[in-house]
Symmetry: C2
Subunit: 288 residues, 2 copies
């Protein structure tokens, strides 16, 4: 029996792990089936799914696998990319988001995570891009309501403003979400994106009833060559997690806590060991 | 006569270039003397100096060179790094900042740019680090007043929060600066660091009388492997500059506009051509 197996069995029935969720991006090279089986082995009760591996596994088959395994689907990643200037690209994006809502509903996902999109190539009008996001969410929100799936607007770290998300702060995401019913549009609180923001505490408090997803991972410094991969295992960077746990709880959030790590070293590791480490760090760094 | 020389002579007497300043980090491998001579050749009337090349050239000799050349010193870079936990390191940092104020006064610099410092190794207390910055500025502000040099608090892009500056937004920098007399503590408006911030316009308006330095360069996407070098020539990224020019003018700023570019490609170029391009882009991208 390996040390990892012992650590896993020591923590698998710890009630404090009840709301821990594996975002499958953390185990990038596992199929949906492997990730579901990995969660079951590790005693993890929820999974955040991504559309591409779900498409590879088949939507119905994925829904069956997670149901058979008794897993909650804490989120489907991801919709968004709503900032195109030309009407055709815009229409294609909206249609794709409607299909993502279909998929999220079929999977029983708690929400569809929305990475809203950056500036179109050569464009420099941030206000215009943000307005197009608002217009697109206005179109999609009723569809989300019909599907019983929340759109979860994700503010991304400002370093992704040009290429991924013109929503950079929780305040911006809430300003937009609050234009719609809370069961249709919520927000994502992701420690990696928000930890630096001096106003994050007052904004989380404001987010009562609007937090659709809570994601944790650390912020690595120095950032790697591809800054998208600067997400680290909790404890490997300089984020202080427990205040986030307390703040989202005080704002009424009692849902899953997803661990989403894009990191070349993690992706090259043994994933059963990644899950064991994730549980241990969740207990020692996130909750305490 | 090269095309560059023609372009330079075409623009050298353009009155719109009157407030353009070369931050010498843009011409990283030039000595102070080379940078001063380069400004004179290009008809640039101001320079932002850095302490290390100034030390190499000699403080008195540098002061003489810029005076002989008729250049304004738009800033001295840089003081700061005030977040150390241990008293000895903290004392060393404060003493170093006092020497930097001496140097800035000797050079007739308009301000001392302050990069306040990140989290100490292993530390996760952002609020504590910000409080230590406030305490250090409280110690340094009267010294700045005696020297007739303004401390220019620079909010850095949030991607530098852990390792360079726990001040990430103009709002934070102003909240701190406003505790002190305006002639002692001001702020830096740097487009690279602030362009993504949806609140930057209302904060620049609030900064009336507090803008000590205005720096421009573009934000490159994707970021290079070393994100510190993600600063690009104006027009090479997705920042819209004219609204910044209008906003700082409306806030009463009439000082120099420094071009500060950390960029491996720029640093490997012919610096007379860099200055010619900088003037051209200043006219075509920053002012218009």
């Amino acid at each position: 029996v390996s040390a990892t197996a012992v650590a896993a069995s020591a923590t698998r029935d710890d009630p404090r792990l009840a709301m821990l969720s594996l975002n499958q991006a953390t185990t990038q090279h596992w199929t949906v089936r492997q990730a579901v089986e990995g969660c079951v082995r590790a005693g993890i009760g929820a999974i955040g799914l991504w559309r591409a591996p779900v498409a590879n596994a088949g939507l119905t088959e994925t829904a069956r696998m997670v149901a058979d395994a008794g897993l909650r689907v804490s989120s489907l990643c991801r919709g968004g990319f709503l900032t195109a200037l030309d009407p055709v690209t815009r229409r294609v994006a909206l249609d794709d988001n409607r299909r993502a809502l279909d998929d999220a509903a079929a999977l029983g996902a708690a929400c569809l995570v929305m990475v809203v999109g950056g500036l179109p190539e050569g464009d420099r009008d941030l206000v215009g891009a943000r307005n197009r996001v608002a217009e697109a969410v206005t179109e999609l929100a009723p569809c989300a309501g019909e599907h019983g799936v929340r759109l979860a607007l994700e503010p991304l770290h400002p370093m992704f403003c040009a290429d991924r998300a013109v929503l950079s702060t929780l305040k911006q995401a809430l300003d937009l979400a609050e234009l719609f019913p809370a069961d249709q549009v919520g927000v994502v609180v992701d420690t990696f994106h928000l930890w630096w923001d001096p106003e994050v505490w007052e904004q989380i408090a404001r987010a009562k009833g609007r937090i659709a997803s809570f994601q944790v991972c650390d912020f690595l410094t120095p950032l790697p060559a591809d800054v998208l991969l600067g997400r680290g295992m909790m404890g490997d960077g300089q984020i202080n997690f427990p205040p986030f746990v307390s703040a989202v709880a005080a704002a009424g959030y009692s849902g899953d806590v997803e661990v989403e790590i894009f990191n070349a070293e993690v992706w090259a590791s043994d994933y059963d060991e990644v899950l064991a480490l994730m549980k241990a760090r969740y207990l020692s760094r996130v909750l305490a």
